[in-house]
């Protein structure tokens, strides 16, 4: 494989559905963590709500819109159920409760008694056919792209167009939110809850709103991931996915509007480029080794980022310095 192909394949992942779905999921996390300072370590639990909403709708023969409503409704309920008891408490409680809950949800979905609803460990398949996700696809069959490697099938193109459209709409919504007085209160809470309280802001309500909205955005991302994959199974919704989304948020710049987008594209480009590069060396590298090495390199990359550009790619240095009073 030529180095140009390695580059093209990495770019394909970055600007394709992978990049878009991570950007969307990270946008939800960015609202919670980047703007409000809520350490949600169970974001994957919200993605799972969206994915299973679609899967259950498909299994029952309901429409795609019912599936979406189901997933987002479940995410709102999850947000309220987690937020109401914990958002009154110190920040650490939220992290512990969210990471545990996401894990519990995955194990419950995976458990045999859940089989009639979630399909247990085998999950639910055949989503795209029964929900008709690809039915409105107006791209004719064929390959789209440049050269021999930077190519998308018509289905891939449809998924990525839908996903990036969602990213655009949601990002513009978040942009309007964070520039409003509502967003100003979130930023105040991120820095000092007591100051916001002393100025008459009902801090718990604002935190709950941010948490629920961020979780719903996560559910939307989860729903798209399920639709694109055509199947849902519990093995996918593990804590490392949450950590990958944190990487995306921090890489792009926490608390910036376009940070999650830049972060997701960069994340997937680097990850896939390293993968391709390892397979393109003059000696053989096994897949397991390549997987481990790319994660190790990601870790080194993040450390370097924290040392030399802690505000992320888009973050403001001045604002970062301001936080270290």
């Amino acid at each position: 494989m030529s180095w140009i192909s390695v580059f093209a394949l990495a770019l394909q992942t970055a600007v394709g559905f992978q990049g878009a779905s991570y950007a969307l999921a990270a946008t939800g996390l960015n609202l919670q963590f980047g703007y409000t300072g809520l350490s949600n370590f169970g974001h994957v639990g919200f993605l799972m709500m969206g994915a299973y909403g679609m899967a259950i709708a498909s299994d029952r023969g309901w429409s795609i819109w019912v599936g979406l409503a189901l997933g987002i409704g479940a995410a709102v309920l999850l947000g309220l159920a987690l937020g109401i008891p914990t958002l009154r408490l110190r920040a650490d409680y939220l992290s512990v409760v969210t990471i545990a809950t996401a894990e519990i949800l995955r194990l419950v979905a995976n458990a045999r008694p859940s089989a009639p609803v979630t399909g247990a460990s085998r999950g639910i398949g055949g989503l795209s056919e029964s929900l008709g996700f690809f039915r409105p696809n107006f791209f004719p069959e064929g390959k789209y792209g440049i050269g021999n490697s930077f190519l998308f099938s018509s289905r891939q193109l449809w998924s990525m167009v839908v996903a990036w459209s969602c990213v655009l709409v949601v990002t513009l919504l978040v942009r309007a939110w964070v520039r409003s007085p509502w967003g100003r209160v979130l930023r105040a809470i991120r820095e000092d809850e007591d100051a916001a309280r002393a100025l008459g802001k009902n801090v718990v309500v604002f935190k709950l709103q941010s948490f629920v909205i961020g979780g719903s955005i996560g559910a939307l991302a989860g729903a798209l991931i399920a639709l694109d994959a055509g199947s849902v199974n519990p093995g996918r919704w593990i804590a490392p996915l949450t950590f990958a989304l944190y990487t995306v948020v921090i890489l792009g710049g926490a608390g910036t509007v376009w940070g999650p987008v830049v972060g997701a594209v960069t994340y997937w480009f680097l990850l896939d480029f390293v993968d391709g590069a390892l397979n393109n060396l003059w000696f053989d590298v096994s897949d397991t080794t390549a997987g481990a090495v790319r994660l190790a390199l990601m870790g080194v990359g993040l450390m370097l980022l924290m040392i030399y550009r802690p505000q992320g790619i888009l973050g403001s240095k001045e604002e970062m310095l301001a936080s270290g009073r």
Partner: protein, 279 residues
């Protein structure tokens, strides 16, 4: 003051006032066996500067936190502007007109000075998550708040810093910003927790000027302070706490001569330096 509303009030702990804005009854706060605050009765007069003094550990700040809702008492009731407010959350109290500042200033460093001010504006339509999305619903109010914030920043000599991150302000400027920000909430009672702590003498003078200006504009001020000179200069009424209790109340001159206060506060007779005339 020419028409001192407290002129006929007897200098004694727990004395009733002609027009109290805050009335406290039997407030207690215990930490295990330690009684940090135990105030039988205290009235704070409307429209004057009342200072709360006492030695370290007297329970001033704890009492202060209780009144603002930042801490919960084990017993007691109190009214603010005639309403019972025990057990009320701090943000509700702030909306009722009781605004506080903090001993360690809580200016928001990652926000601009102007944003710090705008944050404090009350009843903002754009603070609803739904209306926040529709700029048209809050643009007008935002412009009004900006004008109001600008006036206050000019008064506190911070207007040149409006666009800077608050983290770039000096310690004294942060105190000023916190006070200006508190005024954005249109308070009836301003509670200042050691506003002069760690501030240089020149700035102390300017802060004192701002505090008296609040009173002259009709607000009530209750503040905790250590510096006796400061207290004697600007207070209309002084409340002295020791070991959680109110041990004396009175005009500055009454307090300066009060043997109990001198004993509790200074441990020894401090002679002439604690007097109303000092400056």
């Amino acid at each position: 003051m020419a028409d001192d509303p407290l002129a006929s009030v007897e200098p004694r702990a727990g004395v009733p006032k002609p027009d109290p804005i805050l009335v406290v009854d039997g407030v207690q706060r215990r930490y295990g066996g330690l009684v940090a605050v135990d105030v039988d009765h205290l009235e704070v007069q409307r429209g004057v500067i009342t200072s709360l003094i006492g030695p370290n550990g007297a329970g001033k700040t704890t009492f202060f936190n209780l009144l603002c809702g930042f801490d919960k008492p084990d017993a007691g009731r109190w009214t603010f502007r005639g309403d019972h407010v025990e057990g009320t959350s701090p943000h509700v109290l702030a909306r009722k007109g009781m605004v506080r500042t903090f001993q360690l200033t809580k200016t928001l460093g990652r926000m601009t000075v102007l944003d710090n001010m705008l944050l404090a504006g009350r009843d903002q339509r754009g603070e609803s998550a739904v209306r926040g999305l529709v700029r048209g619903t809050w643009k007008g109010q935002e412009a009004e708040l900006e004008a109001k914030a600008h006036d206050l920043l000019v008064r506190f000599k911070l207007d040149a810093k409006a666009g800077d991150y608050a983290a770039g302000l000096s310690g004294g400027q942060r105190k000023l910003l916190e006070m200006a920000r508190a005024l954005m909430t249109d308070p009836a009672l301003v509670m200042l927790d050691e506003p002069m702590a760690g501030v240089n003498p020149a700035l102390t003078q300017s802060l004192l000027g701002h505090v008296t200006a609040l009173r002259d504009e009709g607000m009530s001020v209750l503040f905790v302070e250590h510096d006796m000179d400061v207290i004697m200069t600007i207070s209309d009424w002084v409340v002295c706490m020791a070991e959680g209790r109110v041990i004396a109340e009175g005009r500055p001159a009454d307090i300066a001569g009060n043997a109990e206060v001198i004993e509790a506060y200074l441990g020894i007779d401090h002679g002439g330096s604690v007097s109303g005339e000092i400056r």
